[in-house]
């Protein structure tokens, strides 16, 4: 089909072959232009299922437990956000929830919703619009930053209390890696290649 593609970063038109073996970059602005998009859809689905399980684990169990003078206190992610809310910082609570819970959940469940039918060459209702919206959600998924933020809090607390990392913290760390792998395997170019492959 069309062998002319336009760089989304600088609008330069390029004449290209269909599937490059390695990633190509724009000759003018150096933005990534094409990737070798021949990933396996099964891998992506497996990663998404794995991420979903890790997501539930990281929310169902306490992230951290602290012990001071015989008193213990633990918190989950939702508990942390609701504490912000009770202190009158609803906006901050929403931001934390969106970037660490709603964002990842929409991303994982949305991808599963699209990829499972796609594997059988079927189209989920609203497929194109949903995939477009998922790209917007991805910008607001900050799991890796959250993970580091938790570690910073642990370091600060370790001077005053005994700190015990919970199951959810490990799940969260694994979720961070799984989400990164999932995101790099479900780029828009890759997704549309699967869609076009199913039709052809």
């Amino acid at each position: 089909m069309s062998s002319v593609i336009v760089c989304p970063s600088c609008d330069l038109a390029h004449r290209v072959g269909m599937s490059p073996a390695t990633g190509t970059r724009c000759s003018r602005c150096r933005a990534p232009l094409q990737r070798p998009e021949n990933g396996n859809i099964d891998t992506a689905i497996a990663l998404a299922v794995c991420a979903l399980v890790l997501f539930f684990l990281s929310n169902a169990y306490p992230l951290v437990t602290i012990q001071v003078n015989g008193t213990t206190r633990a918190t989950t992610l939702l508990g942390a956000a609701s504490e912000l809310y009770t202190q009158g910082h609803a906006g901050l609570a929403c931001l934390v929830l969106i970037t660490t819970m709603v964002g990842p959940f929409l991303q994982i469940s949305g991808l599963l919703y699209l990829l499972v039918p796609l594997r059988r060459a079927r189209e989920a209702p609203g497929q194109n619009t949903i995939f477009r919206l998922l790209a917007q959600v991805r910008v607001w998924t900050f799991v890796e930053v959250f993970m580091l933020g938790v570690l910073v809090a642990l370091v600060r607390l370790s001077a005053y209390a005994r700190v015990v990392p919970g199951v959810a913290l490990w799940a969260c760390a694994l979720l961070m890696l799984t989400l990164a792998a999932l995101t790099s395997r479900t780029t828009p170019g890759q997704f549309w290649r699967w869609v076009d492959g199913g039709r052809g």
């Binding site: 336009v6 150096r30 900050f142 370091v155």
Partner: protein, 203 residues
Amino acid sequence: MSEAPTGKSLGLLVCLQCRATVRALQVAYPRCPRCYAHLFHRKPHSLAATAALLVCAAILYIPANLLPVMYTRTIFDDEQDTIMSGVLVLLHSSWPIAVLVFIASIVVPLLKIISLAVVVFSTWRRSPRYRTQRSELFRMVEFIGRWSMLDVYAITLLVALVQIRSLAFVSVGWGALAFAAVVVLTTFAARTFDERLLWESPP
């Protein structure tokens, strides 16, 4: 260099969502035939929107650094922490983490605001110099900006954990909200900026 064929000169539009290249149609609001996203030659009001968001972010950067982000009440004393004093506290327990927080919370937002301002201003002037470097700077800034949320998450967790009524009690300060607002505003500023404007030739 000015003769290089661009999407605009060839009448081609690129979908910023799914990266499909399509022939421009003579309709008011063209949409991508593949993913149904709006298509533009350039994002509408890009420079004005980015500049406005950036000014807001720059203003909020001041209270974000001056207002306390966290109050600590223990049986011995009351303390308030700004972002910077939090870094100094961390310096006692673990300096690599302190450096990390300093870079993520103070250096990154400032660099992001300054870099975006430089990119927007030079694009507005249609400066032909260092285009590739500015383009790469913009993409790097877009990528690292999210790390500024680090301290907001750390505070969230501290607030939730340190609620041992008789011993210690931590609450959030308005500085944290200002700080989060800086991150959100600069993220939106980067998203409303159309990189392609950077490459338009001078009039």
